[in-house]
């Protein structure tokens, strides 16, 4: 009951005129970056970061999280109307969303997507409401070894469940750790990995990496294929909106299943992209109409959308209560929290009650605002897609350049951002996952500190990671997740000696 009281208090913070305005602004900006190819939620949020430094943390986080909701919705709009996913996590929505829209039912497709997305988000927020403070309470007793074990589990789950090739995930993670280590070491004060470049002493900001990896990288991937923005009609028939939402309860099994998958993948950092694909795959296998998937099935829209938003929302749970972001965007927001002088983790629930519960309450309101705004603005943003890509592309390049520069007024950051762009392109092209890389840049230092503090406690013995039940469970769970891909591979080899090459390419298409 305590939680509900706190939540009500949170509503008194979130539902004020300035905060509602911030939500609307955030959602609209979010839809904009979600719709534009090459700009995604991680970019959008990191672009806005410097502008939030003068704000109250709670107002800042409301703006940023609303942008996140907007981006999640915006990505689905282009997926359905143009067959162009605005966000990686809405790729799975194109499979059935676009065919349905092309068949002359764009309103049904959009309303189904938004309705199920809102449901997924709602389940995610409810989960946060009831679970986050409990998790934080448990985590209050954590020492450095427990923290390191939780970080280890989070990174291992990327490898085990992220869906990309495991070794490529490991490489991406390790590169992120190495980048995080550049600059002044927080424990010893010595300068590390600057390779003789004095300017690197300040370290490499995650914003620079995000601008390059997600911004320039995605732009390069997008420019490869010529855009055929052959939109289906984007007119909204309001009666059909309500009819489509009214039909949703008929698919309650799919809704609940997808929400569960999404929440799971959000909390254990698998991320929204992996969640939506997994949910789509499972729905196709278990639905009675599974063989019609891909031709505009309702459940083919419901499953990825619900899971996408449930994962996107619940990714904030570990960020708030443990200080471990569950997705790339959550990682960027956590970077923001640290810049505002807050310490993400269980102490937030003790020291910063207003912040935490204001944010949680704003999630309820923000998602309602997002659904309403996205429905109202579909025609506007659909028109935006008709602007030729050659005009949009240089503008996005300029936005990324200015964004990278304004982090610390450094020209080197701009050059590095461009370098990250090439890396982002190569990684996307070859299916290296980007989210673990960003995550490792943001929390790499903390994981390292936890490891070194544990070693100090135990005087250099690794035995401290098996000293009590909790820490042992976490470490063993992490190791199990690391070995999971290997075990699956062995099982597959035992079942049939020669795995067909075709299978891998199909799988790769699904991962991204």
């Amino acid at each position: 009951m305590d939680n509900l009281q706190e939540l009500l208090h949170g509503f008194t913070i979130a539902v004020t005129v300035p905060h509602l305005v911030l939500m609307a602004v955030g959602v609209l900006l979010g839809i904009l970056v979600g719709v534009l190819p090459g700009l995604g939620a991680p970019n959008g949020v990191s672009l806005l970061l410097p502008l939030t430094f003068g704000m109250q943390p709670v107002s800042a986080i409301i703006l940023l999280s609303s942008m996140y909701w907007g981006a999640l919705f915006g990505g689905s709009v282009t997926s359905i109307l143009f067959n162009i996913p605005g966000e990686p996590s809405s790729v799975a929505t194109t499979f059935d969303g676009y065919p349905m829209a092309r068949d002359g039912r764009p309103t049904t497709a959009l309303a189904t997507a938004f309705g199920s997305a809102a449901f997924g988000a709602l389940i995610g927020v409810i989960l946060i409401t009831f679970l986050a403070s409990w998790v934080a309470q448990v985590a209050l007793a954590f020492g450095p070894p427990e923290y390191f074990a939780v970080y280890f589990l989070a990174f291992a789950s990327f490898v085990g469940m992220g869906g990309a090739a495991p070794i490529k995930t490991v490489v991406a993670l390790a590169i992120g750790f190495a980048i995080a280590a550049i600059g002044i070491d927080t424990v010893s004060g010595s300068v590390r990995l600057t390779m003789g470049v004095d300017e690197l002493v300040k370290g490499v900001s995650f914003v620079v990496a995000v601008m390059g990896l997600f911004g320039i990288g995605e732009l390069l991937v997008a420019v490869e294929e010529e855009f055929h923005a052959r939109a289906v009609s984007s007119k909204i028939d309001w009666r059909e909106v309500f009819r489509a939402v009214g039909r949703l309860p008929r698919h309650s099994v799919a809704l609940l299943r997808s929400a569960a998958i999404g929440c799971w993948m959000g909390i254990t950092p698998g991320g929204p992209t992996a969640a939506s694909f997994m949910s789509y795959g499972i729905a196709r296998r278990f639905s009675r109409r599974g063989r019609y998937f891909g031709t505009g099935e309702v459940e083919g829209i419901i499953s990825p959308e619900t899971a996408d938003h449930a994962a996107g929302t619940s990714a904030l749970l570990p960020m708030l209560s443990l200080g471990i972001p569950g997705s790339a965007t959550a990682a960027v927001m956590m970077g923001g929290l640290m810049i505002w002088g807050l310490n993400p983790g269980p102490m937030l629930f003790v020291d910063q009650k207003d912040f935490v519960w204001g944010l949680i309450a704003s999630m309820y309101v923000g998602n309602i605002v997002a659904v309403a705004l996205v429905l109202l603005t579909v025609p506007v943003f659909a028109a935006l897609m008709r602007i030729p890509f050659v005009v949009i592309a240089p503008l996005i390049v300029i936005i990324c350049v200015v964004g990278a520069y304004s982090v610390s007024n450094s020209y080197l950051d701009v050059v590095m951002m461009l370098g990250f762009g090439i890396v982002g392109y190569l990684f996307k092209k070859l299916f290296y996952p980007l989210a673990p890389l960003v995550l490792a840049i943001v929390i790499g230092d903390k994981a390292e500190d936890a490891f070194r503090q544990s070693m100090l406690l135990s005087k250099g013995s690794l035995g401290i990671f098996f000293a009590n039940k909790l820490v042992t469970c976490l470490i063993v769970g992490g190791i199990a997740l690391l070995l999971l891909p290997l075990a699956l591979q062995l099982a597959r080899l035992l079942r049939k000696p020669a795995p067909s090459a075709n299978e891998t390419t199909v799988q790769e298409k699904v991962i991204i």
């Binding site: 410097p50 090739a165 070794i167 490529k168 490991v170 490489v171 390790a174 590169i175 750790f177 190495a178 280590a181 070491d185 424990v187 010893s188 010595s190 590390r192 990995l193 600057t194 320039i216 732009l219 390069l220 420019v223 490869e224 294929e225 010529e226 030729p388 050659v390 005009v391 592309a393 240089p394 503008l395 390049v397 300029i398 350049v401 200015v402 520069y405 304004s406 020209y411 701009v414 050059v415 461009l418 762009g421 090439i422 890396v423 392109y425 190569l426 990684f427 092209k429 070859l430 290296y432 390292e448 070194r452 070693m455 100090l456 250099g460 795995p499 090459a501 299978e503 891998t504 390419t505």
Partner: protein, 160 residues
Amino acid sequence: MISRRALELATAILTGSFGAAVVVSSLDNGIGWSSAGVDAGTFPFLTGIIIVLGSLYNLVRGVLPAASLANVRIAITPLELRRLAGLFVPAAIFVAAIPLLGMYLASAGYVFAVLAIPRHQSVPRALAMSAATALALYVVFERMFQVSLPHGALAAALGF
């Protein structure tokens, strides 16, 4: 035409050499255990080793003819390569021009060049768009958010 194999190879070499650089550079900070606990270089050293080993694995997997990845022959067609260059080369020139011209002139020139030279837009429209870009940047950053963008060596020489 660039094959998938070549791309895998290049990426693995890129990540691997980064890993090697991390390993070498972290040796300066000392690895292992000292009176102050785990030395500063240890963690980066380990991540460097992981990067190198992982890159080697990816290299072998991407190049081996038996590996399934080599089945995808073409990763980038010549046409795609031209489109990539068409986006990236002007962007790189734009970034290179910033120290000299400053953010405003460089971005205006960049927008104009990308739109007018391949004749995507007429010259007056491209001019209008580039002017609008520079003006928008100035209003939003210099005025609204008081973030100073680089003005460039040229502006400094002219006394701005």
